[in-house]
């Protein structure tokens, strides 16, 4: 976290007596109480509860009283054979999302910056960001309108007129890597390009002016001024995404393929597996074991990623 230079917040409390000091600060603690309690319940109790990965879960006994069963949950997880698939899917999709997302978003940000008409620029920003506002449930309905086997737009209005066989998208694995990448990009491109656009707008105008005085063309300016200035933002965003390498957008992988079992080999990620094992197979132990691996691996990656930022540019490090 950035340490913002602090204005003197309040008149200094009485220094001498401890009791006076506590009394002074008591109202502040009272006001912080709801937040503190919430963080305790919402974040810290589940951290303690991660021991459930090593237990044979019994809902009647609850989280902490359930009997231990060592690493049995992990054994089951490895034996189930889905671990490899879900790890591969989670990581591969993330890699593709990061690469495509970064390249496209930087391009969009630069193009937005070239638009001279204020109104057009505002309009583009507003429209491109719109999909980001929608929940994944809604997105799954939008996708359904295009892909549905019987009534979908693609089958009826594109394939049929071309004389091609209709495709049952929700039963065919081959198409889903592309569909998921497309949907993810469609939904998030507005978000990432707004971030990069803010960075582009922040670049000093004088740099461009002196460059054009010296006869640099627009393309040269983009190459030698804009892109290098974006480097820190790209690095920060990149490392932030690396730290989420073991996490996936549950909604994207659960809602958009409609949790279709046939598609699992190409759509199942750690998050959808954890959910399905918890809710459908009623197997909280295995689910917790998968969650445990995800949390630990995620934590290690965050720390590594942060160490990496520190080496590249100290002030961008998170801690």
């Amino acid at each position: 976290m950035q340490n913002v230079k602090q204005t003197k917040a309040l008149r200094h409390p009485p220094r001498k007596k401890m009791r006076g000091r506590w009394k002074w600060y008591l109202p502040f603690y009272l006001m912080m109480l709801p937040g503190l309690l919430y963080i305790l319940i919402n974040n810290y109790l589940p951290m303690a509860g991660i021991v459930v990965a090593f237990k044979k879960v019994n809902y009647r006994l609850g989280l902490f009283a359930s009997p231990w069963n060592g690493i049995d949950n992990f054994k089951f997880l490895f034996k189930s054979g889905s671990l490899g698939t879900m790890l591969r899917n989670t990581i591969l999709y993330n890699v593709v999302f990061i690469v495509i997302g970064t390249v496209l978003a930087v391009a969009v940000a630069i193009m937005l910056n070239e638009i001279r008409q204020k109104f057009a620029s505002r309009l583009y920003q507003t429209l491109i960001l719109m999909p980001y506002l929608m929940s994944m449930v809604i997105v799954s309905y939008l996708v359904f309108a295009f892909l549905s086997g019987e009534t979908g737009y693609i089958n009826n209005s594109i394939l049929k007129p071309l004389g091609l066989q209709p495709i049952s998208f929700y039963q065919e694995q081959a198409y889903w890597p592309f569909i998921l990448v497309f949907v993810h990009t469609w939904k998030n491109i507005g978000f990432t390009s707004i971030v990069y656009f803010a960075a582009v707008v922040g670049i000093s105008k004088e740099l461009y002016e002196s460059a054009s005085v010296e006869g640099a063309t627009k393309l040269q300016q983009i190459r030698h001024i804009t892109l290098p200035s974006l480097k820190p933002t790209v690095i920060t965003m990149f490392i932030l995404s690396i730290s989420k390498m073991f996490f996936s957008d549950f909604g994207l992988f659960y809602q958009v393929p409609k949790n279709s079992g046939i598609l699992y080999p190409v759509t199942q990620t750690i998050d959808t597996y954890v959910y399905n094992a918890l809710m459908n197979q009623n197997n909280p132990g295995m689910s917790a074991a998968a969650g445990f691996i995800q949390s630990i691996a995620g934590c290690i990656l965050v720390i590594l990623a942060n160490a990496l930022i520190r080496r590249i540019s100290r002030e961008d490090a998170m801690f």
Binding site: A9, W22, P27, P34, G35, V108, M134, G152, K160, L278
Partner: protein, 296 residues
């Protein structure tokens, strides 16, 4: 300034590419709307079209007929969004206010504890068990409001930074001279002066609550407490269930299940409020995204 030929070309290309992307962004919504207005039997025969030839309001009259359920889901969503956003703002800003005090004992410890939550989480299984087994939030409105969405370390620190840098010290001092205590200062000075950050954080929170279906998925099984998003999700699941178990449906009356066109109409009704409100708060929304991403 003379615009060079190259610059011209770049501008034209930018307009074309961005224009196309905007069309891509908007067109699915158009298809959804058009589909929801198309006649059911026409849709089955011809599929969804951007300009359907046979229009019908059947899907929407279905919504009116089923208003007892759909309207209720709407009510749940609205209540959850309002209560959730207001409590979130209050809890977050009070916490940030405490942390903005320079010499508050224990401030460092609390900040570290907050940062840890950004690094590590226990995962969904223990959290689910705590909320359902110990706190009994299952099938209550609180189950939609509380888990994960009330506040988080990142927002608290964002608001704290704003308090620390943007509240003029002279005003604070003047209020203290008048004998105002911490509560009064918070209510009368800090909150009114922090409208920009509260608007940004509040809008992000409202959108999150309006769109949330995760909490419903885990904590709500009672259809009386379904939000709009969960209702849509449940319909998806029911249809899927039907597709997978065709022929062995005993207790379910198939005719009462909404057709695809009707479901699309409900989705359209869930989108519309957000589409209408969006242009008005787009500025704050973009701001929130930039703050959220750069120091996430």
């Amino acid at each position: 300034m003379i615009v060079s030929k190259q610059e011209r070309v770049i501008q034209i290309i930018s307009h074309i590419v961005l224009g196309l992307m905007c069309v891509c962004a908007v067109i699915p919504f158009w298809l959804l709307l058009a589909a929801s207005f198309s006649d059911s039997s026409y849709a089955v025969a011809e599929g969804y079209k951007f300009f359907p030839e046979a229009l019908s309001l059947d899907a929407y009259s279905y919504i009116l007929n089923q208003w007892a359920q759909i309207g209720r889901a709407y009510g749940v969503t609205i209540v959850v969004t309002i209560v959730g956003t207001l409590s979130s703002l209050l809890i977050t800003s009070m916490m940030a206010y405490g942390l903005s005090q320079k010499n508050l004992p224990g401030k460092k410890l609390i900040t570290v504890l907050l940062l840890i939550t950004m690094l590590f989480n226990g995962g969904i299984v223990p959290q689910y068990m705590i909320y359902s087994n110990y706190l009994h939030l299952k099938n209550t409105l609180l189950g939609l409001i509380v888990p994960n969405l009330l506040t988080n370390a990142f927002t608290i620190i964002l608001v704290r930074n704003y308090f620390q840098t943007s509240i003029p010290y002279e005003l604070l001092e003047a209020m203290q001279m008048d004998g105002a205590g911490p509560f009064r200062i918070f209510w009368k000075l800090i909150l009114p002066l922090s409208k920009p950050i509260l608007a940004t954080v509040g809008i992000m929170s409202a959108v999150t609550y309006w769109n949330d279906w995760n909490n419903g998925l885990y904590y709500i099984t009672d259809s009386k407490l379904f939000s709009v998003q969960q209702l849509l999700n449940e319909m998806n699941n029911n249809i899927l269930f039907m597709a997978n178990n065709a022929g062995q449906l005993a207790g379910v009356d198939v005719t009462t299940l909404p057709t695809a066109t009707m479901r699309l109409a409900i989705a359209a009704v869930a989108i519309v409020p957000i589409m209408i409100a969006y242009p008005f708060f787009q500025k704050y929304f973009s701001k929130g995204i930039v703050m959220g991403a750069v120091k996430g």
